[in-house]
């Protein structure tokens, strides 16, 4: 290639960001990127596969960036991103997904160990992200719940969304979210009972075994 420094009207060799685009990019990075770990975890729970989770998160961000103008500022960006991810997941995976409620425990175990091993080396302790150890039993108990219960428990207890946000995400009335949480926790409780006793969670006031 010959260099021609004096060429005046030559088009720019690479597309650069317009001012508007730059602002959008900055806002997007401030609002959306911080939720990447939460989205990745949610994607892992849904797909049970790190590669699929990767793809799903990437596609979610691609879509989110494309439609970032439609994001209402001041509303919960994390909830908005979760909704996009969920829709993406349904379109992409659910058609071929295993039947809800059917759980392959070996798959869960393999998945858990493979991802734990893969991530052990580069844990960022400063991020405080690995503050708690996961117990197989808890993960398996949660995963063994029917999909509709598992989903609301994840969104509520793990991700901390409000009922209104969850209702919007799962496209059901708040009353349904309430009752799914109630029934889901009840189911989960029986599964966790042994675990709770073993790990000393049964010691609250009024609890005498």
């Amino acid at each position: 290639m010959t260099s021609s420094p004096n060429k005046k009207n030559a088009p720019e060799p690479k597309k650069t960001l317009s001012e508007k685009e730059k602002i959008k990019q900055q806002e997007f990075q401030e609002e959306a990127i911080e939720h990447i770990n939460a989205l990745y975890n949610y994607a892992l729970h849904l797909t049970m596969n790190p590669d699929d989770a990767n793809d799903l998160v990437q596609e979610t961000y691609l879509k989110a960036y494309k439609f970032f103008d439609s994001f209402e500022k001041g509303t919960n960006c994390k909830a908005w991103l979760f909704k996009i991810l969920k829709n993406n997941y349904i379109n992409k995976f659910r058609k071929n997904a295993r039947e809800p409620g059917k759980v392959d425990y070996d798959l869960i175990k393999d998945f858990y160990h493979s991802i734990k091993d893969a991530q052990n080396d580069n844990e960022d302790l400063n991020a405080g992200y690995f503050r708690s150890l996961m117990h197989d039993e808890v993960y398996q108990a949660l995963n063994s719940l029917p999909e509709e219960f598992k989903e609301v428990i994840q969104l509520c207890d793990i991700e901390g969304f409000t009922y209104e946000e969850i209702a919007n995400m799962v496209e059901s009335p708040i009353g349904t979210v309430r009752s799914r949480l109630y029934r889901g926790r009840k189911l989960l409780r029986t599964k966790l009972n042994d675990f709770a006793k073993k790990h000393g969670y049964n010691t609250e006031n009024g609890e005498t075994p």
Binding site: K15, T16, L17, S18, E21, Q25, F28, Q29, I33, I36, N37, L39, Y40, N41, L44, P50, N54, V57, Q58, Y61, L62, Y65, K66, I115, K116, Q119, N122, E123, D124, A127, Y129, F130, S132, L133, M134, H135, V138, Y139, L142, C156, D157, I158, T162, Y163, R178, S179, L181, Y182, R185, K186, L188, R189, L192, F195, A196, Y201, N202, E204, N205, G206
Partner: protein, 75 residues
């Protein structure tokens, strides 16, 4: 408030999603109903176990990088 009404509010009570009025009624009920009181405590415990014991993975750095790059590229 009877037990059925209290059960309907149980999850919302655990999650702090009750209105003030509901909260008052619910608290009054569980003070006098050991069954609902126990159930409420159990539900709280279940939530805490899930919150504390499910490990959170960090998104791989390669994924983070590709997302950052994504918003660097004009669409």
């Amino acid at each position: 408030m009877n037990c059925t009404q209290a059960q309907n509010l149980m999850s919302a009570a655990v999650d702090g999603e009750l209105t003030l009025k509901e909260q008052e009624g619910f608290e009054k009920h569980i003070q006098t109903c050991p069954t609902c009181f126990r159930e409420f405590k159990e539900a709280q415990k279940t939530k805490n176990i899930i919150r504390e014991k499910i490990i959170r993975f960090k998104a791989p750095q390669s994924l983070v990088n590709s997302i950052l790059k994504l918003s660097d590229t004009p669409l």
